[in-house]
Symmetry: C4
């Protein structure tokens, strides 16, 4: 393959002939322009030039290779023709660096909310929008959090809790916490090391990481970063091309992954308006209102850029096929109803995750925690319970060890935390993740003592009052006239102080 000079690439800088450079390789994307899930506009911005910087944090490493026919792989760029661009430090870069310098010291981070508050400030706006957004009115994402606060504790007293132990076994793997790191996409948007931050912290603290299909780091990079014997799970978006999926799954098994979490709640990615909005503002600031030109589709945020990798035809019929290609545990991630929980059980899966995808898919779906109650009841009726061969996990809205304990009391085997760890490394890298695990550990110690449970198995249904869990009620809209006129009471007033 001969080397291509940058000047040759620069000649293909139009919609009619569009070449781009990614990681020193040249690709002809002219025919791909209209198929690009993220829209053609963003590609055309780099037409005839190097798109690596924009490409990298948003795409799985091999995305372009997988999606572009081999004949469009033009060749390698001639390094001698590449002018080393001194990267401009923008005002935004400087501002972000100043904020990074002003972060609270890590030992002032007291809970998982703190990471989120820091990340909100130091993340590039686009990354914050992608990570924090959820679908439609973002009701489900908030309900996920709120649901935990409708479960109340019934703590037991006078048990000798000198030593408490919150370690457990998840799908046959030892875990120092009843918590696993759930898959979240595109970690490099938040930190240059991306998902490796999680892998390294997980190794150090005996926690299990679920590797996302849409990681910014490649699967192998992540596995390579793991320590010997470190248990890993894999989250799977099923590709329209089943051969790609098969190869991917079997490769994962070969590399030692213990369980396969097939995402079943995303036949199409949700509309995440915060993410879409951010993109719009970015592109068109200061622009004049334009009449909508048919045929030109706007870019629609990061979410849409990754959705074509997902097959909407995935169905129950595919489960036996998965069973046939792998011996890993098969877990369905994104179950919401007792009906589907029973179907999963009958299909021979080893478990389910009660999840609504962090509120990013179907808005006004109920929370995993709420569904847990109904689903555990249904599984109890259907078969043995607890069932060592069928695990029920929950994710969504978890911020505290006390949340986890509530889920365990209601029947969950373990709980997934996604954004919590994502924000931890986005704000403080690997050390942030380690601090997050430490905080959870401190919280587990305290809460297990205070609830009167010495081991995970002593966390029982009687320790919670979940009677309010199903009552997500609505309030009569307020009487603004009355409330506007009513003068609230105040407390006693100080005199003018001589300060």
């Amino acid at each position: 393959m001969s080397l291509i000079p940058t000047s040759a690439v620069a000649e293909h800088a139009s919609r009619d002939s569009c070449w781009i450079i990614v990681h020193s390789k040249v690709y002809d994307v002219t025919e791909f322009l209209d198929e690009h899930p993220g829209g053609s506009k963003i590609i055309l911005k780099y037409a005839g030039g190097d798109a690596t910087e924009a490409y990298e944090p948003i795409h799985p490493p091999n995305a372009i290779l997988d999606n572009l026919p081999i004949e469009k792989h033009i060749g390698a760029i001639d390094p001698n023709t590449v002018v080393k661009v001194v990267k401009q430090v923008t005002e935004a870069d400087k501002r972000r660096q100043a904020l990074m310098d002003a972060r609270p010291p890590l030992d002032e981070i007291l809970n998982l909310h703190d990471f989120e508050a820091v990340a909100k400030v130091v993340l590039p706006e686009k990354a914050w929008a992608y990570y924090s957004s959820a679908s439609d009115d973002e009701i489900t994402i908030r309900e996920n959090r709120a649901a935990f606060q409708r479960v109340w504790f019934r703590p037991r007293i006078l048990r000798d809790v000198s030593s408490v132990d919150w370690s457990t076994t998840i799908l046959g793997c030892k875990s120092s916490l009843p918590v696993y790191i759930s898959a979240t996409a595109l970690g490099k948007l938040g930190h240059p090391d991306g998902e490796l931050n999680l892998t390294r912290a997980a190794a150090k603290h005996g926690v299990i990481q679920m590797i996302p299909t849409l990681a910014s780091c490649s699967f192998d990079e992540i596995v390579d970063a793991a320590s010997p014997g470190q248990p890993l799970f894999l989250q799977l978006y099923v590709n329209r091309d089943r051969e790609i999926t098969k190869k991917y799954v079997q490769h994962a098994e070969k590399r030692g992954v213990k369980a396969l979490f097939i995402t079943v709640d995303a036949p199409q990615l949700g509309r995440r308006e915060k993410d879409m909005r951010m993109k719009s503002v970015d592109d068109s600031a200061g622009a004049k209102v334009q009449e909508n030109q048919s045929g030109v589709k706007k870019d629609q945020g990061v979410s849409r850029a990754i959705s074509s990798f997902i097959d909407p035809s995935l169905s129950w019929k595919d489960i036996p096929w998965f069973r046939s290609i792998t011996n890993m545990h098969i877990i369905l991630k994104g179950v919401s109803t007792p009906e589907d929980a029973i179907l999963a059980y009958e299909a021979g899966c080893q478990g389910i995750v009660l999840s609504n995808h962090g509120g990013r898919q179907l808005d006004t779906s109920r929370s995993g925690l709420e569904n847990l109650v109904d689903i555990v009841a249904a599984l109890k009726q259907r078969g043995p319970w607890p069932n060592p061969n069928f695990s029920v996990f929950v994710d969504g809205g978890v911020r505290r060890a006390s949340d986890v304990i509530k889920a365990l009391a209601l029947g969950a085997s373990a709980v997934g935390i996604g954004r919590g760890f994502l924000y931890a490394f986005s704000s403080y890298g690997q050390e942030g993740v380690e601090r997050a695990i430490e905080i959870l550990r401190d919280e587990f110690e305290m809460n297990m003592r205070l609830i009167g449970a010495r081991t995970i198995s002593e966390i029982v249904p009687d320790m919670v009052d979940a009677s309010a869990l199903h009552s997500h009620v609505g309030i009569t809209p307020s009487d603004n006239l009355y409330n506007g006129t009513y003068q609230p009471l105040g407390t006693a007033q100080f005199r003018q102080a001589k300060l």
Copy 2:
């Protein structure tokens, strides 16, 4: 008929003799002054002059002809005597134009709320007050929205949703969406083309428009703007003079209208204080407090200007008469109770709309969505269900395709959207309406996939949890002393950043 010079009109500029010009015709309205639903004051403002500009957006085109005896139609104005007035561009006009220029580009409009937010800014205050207002404390209008958020999804997974189809048939007419454009009055307040924006967009996208009795455009203008075979419905306020109504209904049928939606929740128009308030401020800004002068009635906003066209004596006895004058489907719009739903069914109607008139009539009425549950239960007991000869529609508070899907799951045949489309053309004309339809289409595609329904008929009751729908509870008033003293928790604090 001889032509009348403007100077002759100008001589009749008092309460004792009051002539006005509307659309180049001269009318003697002296005796009509006290009957004018909008009050005499607004007419007297134009006494002896041309009232067209004020008349036009508020009145149905033929209002003056229908309401003034023929002998008061003085004649046509002599065009040679008319001084062409160069319309002054006011500061308010300039301001509004500047805001129009600054509107968000249409492709940044991501949901139906966005149209409302834009309309709120760019609409003349009077139009916004008329469109957005509802009755009394505006509790029902907000409850309409809130009710949808008390219904939660129970999404099904692993169904092959490669292709999903949300088209349907409404009263025998094809519709590309399970949504119709519900009637709203006085479209020209929002856009010079008024209701025609809807007609044209509906034609283009296969959606059904319900023509309002109180349109700013005449009935025939709207029908003329429709494309061949485009299905149209008609909303009817029943006039005190049944002959006028008969003529109107039979004309509509002749012109191809498919169904007649008789409004039954408005024997009198509601008190819409936001609208009334706007009028007051308008008239009396800067005025000194005046003792109330008996006999002089203030103008009471746009709503009152149109209420005399409605007959409060309309009753069940009239239904057979309607049946006798038309073969169109007859639908009662504004049903709230199972009792009345059964009466409508027994009276031989083809359907009902569960509606509280967008919260504009009886405040603290329950929402259509809430009533749907009880009414479907009653209809099931009474006859076959679903019943191809009796449709149940819902309107009020709909902003998302997910709202529509909830209503369909609970038994509705289709859902009406009024203000959503009204704000769409008020802010962006016909293109706004088209964009609104596109947005709904995108949302239907996503939501049907995510809920696991491939067609409208696969949307079933099990897909929603409506257990909270009836719980519009009240909250203990807050303890202001406690809340005022309690210091909320905050997150970790940044150091002073060097920005």
Copy 3:
């Protein structure tokens, strides 16, 4: 009785010998100082001088005569010695007058809330504090309002509502509204004509006024202001001295009062902190913190100034005595439980008012509307229902005709409005009260049409959904960390407009 020169009064200006002038009469109040319910401090402020201005709005006209032994009535002041004081117009007076001039014109007052909003601005602070305050945390006063919003309408359609009639009969007296004017004390704090504003407006509009024991105007002044045959009720605080009460009741009956409403919820007046607070601020603004001096009691607001007129020993044993001294209807005002409602019925009363004294007595008492449901159920079980000899009234929190209709649907005979009318005359005098009645009339017309009731008797239980009335629930305290970090969604953004 010889005339006393002002100089002679001035000699008694100390705690040891304290004379004051009220309405040109001289009184020796030395021994009364410590008994004064409002504290001695306020009297000492006027020692040796004229206290009329401070006395008048707060005391019933004959309070000083009734409470001071005859030998302490020194005599009449010598008018020749009185220096006509030119009343200083203070900054506060000027400010208040400027605000009065700027009031919204009366025809812009659209509902009863508006009067309250105006009164809040134009009333002297002390008057506002006294009128608007309620006990403890003011939870019940707000709950009174909130309760109405937990009752929802089930409107009926297609009834001929051309003419609707909301007049009724209350305890045998005709009333143009199903509403009476409930007693509120000290009307002159709000307007120089005090309660007469109500009497005159009631005469003009056929409404019944309940005269308060603690009126600023004397009982006879009020009755004298009534038109011939105008029905009046009397609210009674029972005095420790039953002879005073007997004289008062029999005088009222002689003067034609139709019904006696005995207040039973106030054996002691509630602590109304807003009122107490106002007094404190008034007295001690700018003062230095003083150690509490035992023995010196602070004034405690207007409420406390009137409480000694009320006998805490009043009990069921007194009811037969009342029956023995009068033939007027006897109604117990302030009933909250079915148990007491039955006792009242069995004691031969003609009715009860379900009231919590406008939230001014026992805080966190339930609302009259909520109690209505339980009490009507109990009365139904006990005897005939509806019972022409036993009426159930409700008051508290009523602001709209729709509130009244809800109470009637649930079984009330009529509804009392206190503060609504009080604020009406405080802001606009008699015309305010008339406007308030007009507004209610307009609201009754609209609401009865919209609910489908042509007469009061057609307002039936099926027209309301009161299922949420008993659910005054509490909400989980919010997760401030989560809510503080969560970034709410916004709508599309405008570009910078050229304004």
Copy 4:
């Protein structure tokens, strides 16, 4: 023991050899550094110098003696070598003094909230953080308050309430109120006289004080300050070394303490982030972000400084031992479930306190008031009720006499108030506590009259409606797009006033 010069102490100012002076005694704390519950950093700050000022308000007086082996007690400081340091008056001191001078006069303090509002302003930040903080999200602390507002009164009327009596007997001791002063730690943080303020005020007003294990004053100082025969209770944290506990308990009994309240809800102190946060800000203001250095643990607020005195192994097995060492009543403080209430009863205890430690331990625990209903029901089933040998107390969130009455109606014998009195003396010393008692007395008088109860025994279950107590429900997260666009109604507008 020879005297040690300050210069000799100053030589031991490092981690390798660390001496400090406390109350003129010298201690070698080198080996204790890592065991110090409050962290080593705070000790090292005073290494080689006098730590008394920092030590005093935070530690029980004999803490250092009890925890440091005798061989580390180096000796007494040579007073001749001590340089009298003129205490610097800092800006913060001056500011606090100015605020103290500007406090509202005590007679303007109308309720217990007022004390809290004043304390919030005048307390040193660290003290406020320690006193006001609660665990995790501080949900339970607020729920404690909110629970009372979910219980509503059903007041009875027409009972002769001329005289009402709210005195009672608590565990055999007379009390002028059905309230006792609950234990709170470290009173000297708020006032130099610490817990003695409570002792003296309790003596004067016939109220019972519960002495805290972690008082700033020593146990004997408090008992010495009591008047003859003044009843006292003792709150107990059980030490890991049972001999210390035994000595302490038996000493208390000897000195006349009547009842022992063993804290059972604190095997480990809760994480109180407000307190931890305060510490962080204090230490590191202006510091640069540092990478976390492993091995160095940050100080974690006042709470952690006292936690090692508590034994997490305390269990039911210890109860017989307590019974064997004392004849005092034994009460378990911190019971939350009927199961444990029954166990306490069967273990021969004389009572329980339904408490969640003021929200400072397990967050999202239910309130004592809510648990009261279930626990009383369980006790009724188990044995005689009311049971003179087994009392049920409640604490948490009490601010008003009406709260107490609600708890009594639901079955409590008396109610504990902790923070209310703590804030009273923090803001006004002993007089504050007396004022607090007076306020409660006034509130009891009013409320008992208004509810119709003349004695404590007449407060019966029928007087409250607790049906909402268990409903701590969650609300659907709000639709921010809708709410942001909805324009709330306002009242009529004033014209521009000429002020």
